[in-house]
Symmetry: C2
Subunit: 348 residues, 2 copies
């Protein structure tokens, strides 16, 4: 009888520590997703690092892949990470992973911080009922309602993961779901954040050869792709961006995100970051990039990853902001420019 | 003899508390700047509020002006504040104020936390030398070098201002310069942040009638203006943004910042925020806005304020990121598309 031996390579995946951060949760999901895509032939060892520059350097020097936070639907882009990726020597994104920003409330195993308070009979008996709740100040701010409803006393920590790791008996900590198992805590209540819809997208980073190899595997599975590019026109004045976007439009390339950003934060300098629904090796995309480069525009591809399922609500369902001017094309009268509403909303 | 009486109106200026935040410092600078512009005829009472929604509501209901953080050169836009202003009923920006993100290190008046350690003779005698340093986790992260150099033990606080207010003897707090006077502290060292170039821009908000009145006064002084607009095309697909920017280009309007943003954070919906070097009442700008509105595009002016002095480095002096593709127009060879550098940097 022959035992068949299935080779499995192991790779390191670096994330922002300590254990139990949302980035750790993203790393766990990325490891599962990438293992699926290689039919389980790659296993990942997850390793925490103290900051994003250390993750970028670990990836650049070939020690493994890395995970960094990229964009949150409430807070927007994680701009320092964006700047770091733009300026990285040989690092690019190869996958994009979404994590719900959901907080669970934890207690020490077997501990009931509310027991003393319940015995005292009333919450207003303050001294016998002080229960500290610990999290990063952002975490405390995102779980205000739970803290008020349970009459907890906020105690800031350096991170949500640290709050869970260092939780003292008699206290409550708020953190990502994975902290419960990681630190052996009881879950007092799940998903206690005020706002249920928040999520953060993370990028999985590799060396550019890793990105090409990963995308070659995905292409073999007939995958659609998204691409993030940065360009710097190296001229200023009206129309610089319009001229570039005309070229993208004429190639039929669809943008899903676009922003200007001072290069490395330097005032008065301009780079542009553009997320597109296409792969850079498609002929129409190649031609666009070649045209831009031939015009002397500085160019870099930051990430190419399999296209995500995205919500795509019809424009009739968009929740418009309050106020503003919105003309109904069938009912435009000539005097709309001079109405008080128009003057107030446009400030002209 | 007649004593001439100079009337001075007093107005309230709301900011994000507690006292001693960077927003408080911005409010003090805004109050000075606006008083200058009204030749001292307006004095301001500065009032802290617990969060930005409370500031927006205080302004909307006519209780005074407000100050909110808008953009930081390292962290980018303060997106929740941007979203709040886009969705505000009758609130817009009338001034833009810049504050350096600089931290001073404070001790309690007359206190020397280092005395015990100095007596022990050596820093490595750890137990006799533990000196806590308190700040918001962001503040602690921004002053890492000072903390390491002085062998301090980081202790997170809910805000830098709270760290200064609640400073215990034997400890050090990090916060904005104004905390020293506000809380009666000694300044141990000034400007201890790792990165010297960080700054945050704040917007001063008023009701739209306040904005128009303020801008009318500025126009009388022959001021140049900047304008921030939001538009929502209510169609999707390639070229939507390019078509709008073509109209701005053809009017000769110069953009200094541009970004897409999901409306209220809703995935798959698109608004655009654009900062322009012009006033919305200029005929060319009015014509642009009227053209966009006539195309059914939702429009709102978020802020109009006197143009700031801005650094404007020549493109030759821009610090380009590492890597990327940048062709010298005089030396393009036909095979640049197929070089290993091009393939690696563009991932095609």
């Amino acid at each position: 009888m022959t035992v068949q031996w299935c080779p499995m390579t192991r790779e390191t995946l670096f994330y922002l520590g300590p254990e139990g951060t949302f980035t750790h949760q993203a790393a766990m999901e990325a490891a599962a997703q990438l293992a699926d895509e290689t039919a389980g032939k790659t296993g990942f060892d997850l390793v925490p690092l103290p900051d994003v520059p250390a993750i970028m350097e670990a990836v650049r020097s070939g020690r493994g892949l890395g995970v960094i936070a990229w964009e949150n639907n409430v807070e927007g882009y994680v701009v320092p990470n964006l700047d770091a990726l733009i300026d990285a020597g040989d690092v690019a994104g190869l996958a994009r992973v979404r994590v719900d920003v959901a907080f669970d409330a934890f207690t020490r195993r077997g501990d009931d911080p509310f027991a003393a308070r319940d015995a005292a009979g009333t919450v207003s008996d303050a001294d016998s009922g002080v229960i500290p709740v610990s999290a990063h100040p952002h975490g405390l701010a995102q779980c205000k309602r739970f803290i008020v409803d349970h009459h907890l006393t906020p105690t800031p920590a350096s991170s949500n993961a640290a709050a869970c790791r260092d939780l003292e008996p008699g206290g409550v900590a708020l953190g990502p779901r994975i902290c419960g198992e990681l630190y052996g805590l009881d879950t007092l209540a799940a998903r206690v954040q005020d706002f249920a819809g928040a999520h953060t997208d993370f990028l999985v980073l590799g060396r550019r050869d890793d990105v090409r190899a990963s995308n070659d595997r995905a292409r073999a599975r007939d995958t659609d792709f998204e691409t993030i590019i940065t360009f710097i026109p190296l001229v200023t004045g009206p129309g610089v961006v319009a001229n570039v976007l005309d070229i993208l439009r004429d190639a039929g390339l669809n943008m899903t995100s676009f922003m200007s950003r001072p290069i490395k934060g330097d005032d008065g300098t301009y780079s542009f970051i553009d997320t597109l629904d296409a792969a850079p090796w498609e002929p129409r995309f190649r031609d666009v990039l070649a045209t831009l480069a031939a015009h002397g525009i500085w160019l870099k591809t930051l990430a190419v990853y399999p296209r995500r399922e995205r919500s795509n609500p019809p424009v009739e369902a968009w929740r418009l902001p309050q106020g503003g001017v919105h003309l109904d094309a069938t009912r435009i009268s000539d005097d709309w420019r001079e109405t008080e509403t128009t003057r107030r909303e446009l400030l002209w």
